[in-house]
């Protein structure tokens, strides 16, 4: 199968993720969309690895997964902290860093 299809699929998933990060207000969904973007990247990495027949891309995909897990831990931690402090679960309300 031609690599183009994989890359097109990867681009679609990435675009969906971007659209979600930019447009959604629920931080949980934003996190999910971030995961989508990371996994789109993973897909592209694995596809290239297979095309070149080397394992470097796969190793990178594994590292990205580790990073994604870390990021989820921190992100969810922030969301739980927001919840505990009875803050609105809405990232547009969290704009105190306005200049």
């Amino acid at each position: 199968m031609d690599i183009t299809w994989y890359l097109v699929l990867s681009a679609f998933i990435f675009a969906i993720g971007v659209a979600g990060v930019i447009s959604r207000r629920n931080p949980l969904v934003v996190l999910l969309c971030l995961e989508l973007m990371l996994n789109a990247g993973n897909l592209a990495l694995v596809a290239f690895a297979r095309m070149h027949g080397s394992e470097a891309g796969q190793v990178f995909a594994l590292i990205v997964m580790v990073i994604a897990a870390c990021e989820v831990v921190i992100g969810l931690g922030i969301i739980v902290a927001m919840y505990r402090n009875r803050l609105p679960i809405d990232i547009d309300e969290m704009s105190e860093l306005r200049g």
Partner: protein
């Protein structure tokens, strides 16, 4: 130990005294700071004697010892050491400075007893002596300038010692500003010499003066005139003298130490030290001699009418330094330095006596209020009279020998100098009159109420007021305590005045014409290269001069006696007869008013203008306002980007990455 080791010790002891007194002001009890300071100076005096003895071991041609502690600055072909020069001149100055300073320290131990700044006072005093010794021991211009600036700073600190007195603070500022004018002159003069000779070491500069400069070379004359500016500012010569009378705001021992015996003679020392330069630039030396003569006449006339006791002595100091400047400028080096030494003795003595009287008057310095202290303070009366006799040049006192040695040398050189010498006799006549004007007005005549009280054993206790303005004073800080008034009742004061009175009489016997001239022989190695080393007035001429001087002195004293004792109303009648002349003199020739109009008021006007227009409109408005405006516009743009919305940041990030990616894609194809 070698002579230079003693030289370093001379510097080390006063410095140690300063450090101990300034760090230990909280813990040192009672009079201990005073005794620490006095013993530090006494050790410095002993070290000076050590240096003298060791120096005399060397053959006469080799009595220029330079010793360097470390390199102060070193660049390409320019090299300055922290070095001292031990030669007869510097050892002589060390002996005079440390010896007189020691006695004044002892006097201060008693005089300042009740002062709240006792330890601070002695720290300053030791610092001053250290600076003065550094000045006279310096082996190059840099160290000289450092010592020069240090004594200026010490003088400022001590004049403003009672810092709650506005008049004292103003006097300190005035002294400092005028001294800085002199410092600038000295520094620029040193630059000119460095530029032409390539060296700042005294001995090296002196050795190549004759090859580098032709006689009266323009640059050398300019450099010498600039050095003279420094000397005139420090020694209170015309037209930079106005600070010295105001400096009398400081405690009286300070006036005795700094403003009579030591610091103000630094200018005389400078001219004597720089003699090879001045001999190669006789035009500048003539300027020095003429200004010295003008100053001695001017200050003499003012001292005749001023009624503030300390200011009379201050003007007398200006006048006597005029003699010294005239002497050393006219190549009569040992005569000028001889007068420097005897003047240090009798003028310090006069100030101490004045301090004693002012103490008895509870701080009042006006001679119009004084009178009849003879029986109340017999010791002060005797010593003060001895000081006045020496000042007046009464026969067989020290001043008689030293003053006439200067005048004799001037007459011997002839021409212009002879005219200056004759004018010196005129000044000597005025000196005798004003010296005994003080004695007769303070100690003779009708008794002041304070004198009567003191005779009954009571000390006058005035209210704490400023003697100059009559303002009430804050006695908590920066002011002598209420028990400040001491009139010769404490033994250290007598212990200091006694030896000085003795020296004021016998100090002149080291140089009696025709008998011996110890001082000149001692100083000879320093001035051996002088062109005028062999021109001495004959012994006969000197004795004729001495007789003339003695007659003038006795006539002057007689006139003072006539005016103030025989016909007591004469002074008042003269004042009424010549109101203009009296006004002119009692306003000190309007120098202060002139400087106020020419320098001070324009400066304050310019200052006010700058504050109002330049500072407000230009600096604050244009420069500061413009800079803040630019920053404010920039930040308001940067702030508008910071919306605080996460998605906006994400979008910007994405657009940035997309833009970069596009850029590289387009470039790579």
């Amino acid at each position: 130990m070698s002579a230079t080791t003693f030289g370093w010790l001379v510097l080390a002891f006063p410095l140690a005294g300063t450090v101990i007194n300034s760090l230990g002001w909280r813990v040192l009890p009672g009079r201990l700071p005073g005794w620490i300071a006095s013993s530090a100076i006494f050790l410095a005096f002993l070290s000076s004697i050590g240096a003298l003895i060791k120096l005399q071991d060397h053959p006469a041609e080799e009595r220029h010892l330079v010793d360097s502690l470390w390199t102060y600055a070193s660049t390409a072909d320019f090299h300055v050491d922290l070095a001292i020069l031990i030669d007869p001149l510097s050892v002589f100055m060390c002996l005079v400075v440390s010896g007189v300073s020691f006695l004044i320290h002892v006097y201060s131990v008693a005089y300042m007893t009740s002062d709240r700044g006792y330890s601070r006072y002695f720290a300053y005093l030791n610092y001053f002596v250290f600076s003065m010794l550094l000045l006279v021991l310096a082996a190059n211009f840099v160290i000289l300038i450092i010592g020069w600036a240090f004594v200026g700073a010490a003088s400022y600190l001590l004049i403003s010692f009672w810092y709650r007195r506005t008049t004292a603070v103003e006097a300190g500022i005035k002294a400092f500003v005028i001294n800085v004018i002199g410092d600038v002159g000295l520094v620029i003069g040193a630059f000119l010499i460095l530029d032409k000779t390539g060296s700042l070491d005294f001995l090296q500069v002196f050795s190549q003066v004759d090859q580098t400069f032709t006689r009266n070379d323009g640059t050398l004359v300019a450099a010498c005139l600039l050095l003279l500016v420094g000397a005139f500012a420090k020694s209170a010569q015309l037209p930079l003298h106005t600070w010295l009378p105001d400096a009398m705001e400081g405690p009286t021992p300070v006036s005795a130490l700094i403003h009579a015996a030591t610091m103000v003679t630094a200018g005389v020392y400078l001219i004597a030290r720089m003699f090879p330069l001045f001999e190669q630039a006789p035009a500048a030396a003539d300027v020095g001699a003429i200004i010295g003569c003008a100053t001695l006449l001017f200050a003499g006339t003012v001292a005749l009418v001023v009624t503030d006791l300390k200011r009379v002595i201050a003007y007398s100091t200006i006048s006597q330094i005029g003699y010294m400047v005239m002497g050393v400028s006219a190549a009569a080096y040992s005569a000028g330095l001889f007068h420097l030494m005897t003047h240090a003795f009798f003028k310090a003595l006069l100030f101490m006596g004045a301090g004693s009287v002012i103490g008895a008057m509870a701080g009042i310095q006006d001679m119009d209020r004084m009178g009849g202290f003879r029986r109340a303070m017999p010791f002060t009366f005797v010593t003060f009279t001895i000081g006045a006799l020496a000042l007046a040049g009464f026969p067989f006192t020290s001043g008689w020998f030293s003053k006439d040695e200067i005048i004799g040398s001037l007459l011997n050189r002839g021409g212009l100098y002879a005219v200056l010498g004759v004018l010196g006799y005129v000044g000597a006549f005025m000196t005798a009159v004003y010296a005994f004007r003080m004695v007769f007005r303070v100690f003779q005549g009708e008794q002041a109420p304070e004198a009567r009280e003191l005779e009954g054993g009571h000390m006058a206790h005035g209210d704490p007021v400023n003697p100059m303005t009559g303002e009430p004073e804050d006695t908590d800080v920066g002011f002598p305590g209420p028990e400040h008034h001491i009139a010769e009742r404490d033994w250290p004061m007598k212990a200091a005045m006694g030896p000085l009175a003795l020296l004021a009489i016998v100090g002149g016997y080291i140089a009696i014409p025709g008998v011996d001239n110890v001082l000149e022989k001692f100083l000879e190695p320093t001035f051996a290269d002088s062109r005028f080393a062999d021109t001495h007035p004959s012994t006969g001429a000197e004795w004729i001069g001495l007789v003339i001087g003695g007659v003038i002195s006795i006539t002057g004293i007689g006139l003072a006696w006539w005016v103030y004792i025989r016909e007591p109303g004469t002074a008042a009648r003269l004042r009424e007869r010549f109101p203009r002349a009296h006004n002119f003199l009692s306003h000190k020739w309007y120098f202060d008013e002139l400087y106020d109009a020419v320098f001070v008021r324009p400066a304050t006007t310019i200052g006010a203008f700058c504050r109002r227009v330049v500072e407000a409109d230009f600096v604050q408005g244009t420069i500061v306002g413009g800079a803040t405006g630019i920053v404010r516009v920039g930040t308001s743009f940067a702030r508008s980007i910071q919306t605080g919305y996460l998605r906006a940041y994400a979008l910007l990030l994405l657009l940035g990455v997309a833009g970069l990616t596009l850029y590289f894609l387009l470039n790579s194809s």
